[in-house]
Symmetry: C2
Subunit: 237 residues, 2 copies
């Protein structure tokens, strides 16, 4: 995923799309491998898109497809692919009828939202009409979270289906320092699962959750049982 | 910034450190230029740290410095620098006396938290003692937000001081499609400021904020006045 916007890097806006995409991908069985956040800089966007689309099967972007001068994502992605930017006919039709029905002017600014690299297909926007677009393996979506989420949902049927990673979360009353060594031994003994230990601090003390993940249900059960047994042994120490 | 952790990419944990660092950097006058989020993969961490530390003046990492087997950041960063990992004597002293005072065992797992690349200096952890570390221009901090924030605060005096970017936020009652064209003209006429337009959608309708940013106060005032005048003209249309 590539999240685009100066406002994310200044701290003015706290991203809400990365965590959402991560959850949707996990449910779909698609591994999210990397996220980058960069500003509204055309060359940086183009270079980063080129790096990511060549490294990964799918790339999702958020941000920079609105009607104002700082919305430069369509141009930057067209540049990345070496393609011209066009006003997409289907986007013109959708937005044109949307504004006509509301007796709103179809300003040049609003027409910016119809611009895509030549050959792109549209991504539906059930929230506010102005579409995202797909070009090759790059899915270009809005930064406003409600719109991003709606666009991602509209893609659900078109994405490849993977085997979802299953996980088991095991609450742990012991500190990581107490269970780190036996947990490490369990992780070594169960190479088909990924075991994570996630401490939290609530202001008064730490607590901890152990998460066991695998695409293989039997391996997951084995490893979770081993963690349960280790925690029971720890409790009786 | 580099945020490290499988749990961020699975959506299980929603990052809270990126937005915090972004705000702290903005106040300090340091431009945050890029953020990456990657999983607990040693080679990926080492490669990414090498890319970022050569591209930017400062690199801040979060995550992966606890006591469990999945905390591999110290090793990966040592590998990035081609340095051996040592048990840092000062970290041993701090954690040793911390556990001794609490009659807690200094387990091998807890000793993992003293490991740094050779030559690293420690970053204080006023919340839970186990330190972060700095090696060259890379600052390695915890992923637990309260600890990350405390570590970052303890660095404040050691970071370079830039000229903070000043900003003016102007509420806008008009849609981006209505003000996109005149706003674009203002942006072209004021090259020393950055003007952003940030639509929000609250479930019933859009509203918008225009943010003008500059390190030059006079240029900021000029551009903000131009935006105010444009909005007043729009209101009287």
């Amino acid at each position: 995923m590539l999240a685009i916007g100066d406002e994310l890097l200044s701290g003015r806006t706290k991203d809400k799309n990365i965590g959402h995409l991560a959850e949707v991908m996990t449910v779909a069985g698609i591994d999210l491998k990397e996220v980058r956040i960069i500003g509204d800089e055309p060359h940086m966007i183009a270079d980063t898109v080129n790096t990511l689309r060549r490294s990964y099967d799918l790339v999702f972007t958020s941000g920079g497809i609105g009607p104002t001068h700082d919305d430069i994502t369509a141009d930057a992605i067209a540049a990345a692919f070496g393609l011209p930017v066009i006003e997409h006919p289907e986007a013109i039709a959708r937005l044109g009828s949307h504004y006509a029905a509301r007796e709103m002017e179809f300003t040049p600014a609003r027409r910016r939202m119809t611009r895509t690299p030549e050959g792109a297909s549209l991504i539906d926007n059930p929230v506010s009409v102005a579409p995202g677009f797909r070009i090759d393996n790059v899915f270009v979506m809005a930064g406003v979270p409600s719109v991003f989420q709606a666009m991602l949902a509209s893609l659900a049927d078109t994405l490849p289906v993977g085997t979802p990673l299953k996980s088991r979360t095991i609450p742990c009353l012991f500190g990581e320092g107490d269970i780190g060594d036996p947990l490490s031994a369990i992780a070594r003994a169960h190479p088909d699962v990924v075991i994570g230990s996630y401490p939290k601090f609530d202001g008064t003390g730490y607590f901890n959750e152990i998460v066991v993940r695998s695409r293989d249900e039997a391996a997951l059960d084995d490893a979770a049982s081993a963690v349960d047994a280790m925690l029971a042994a720890q409790a009786s120490r």
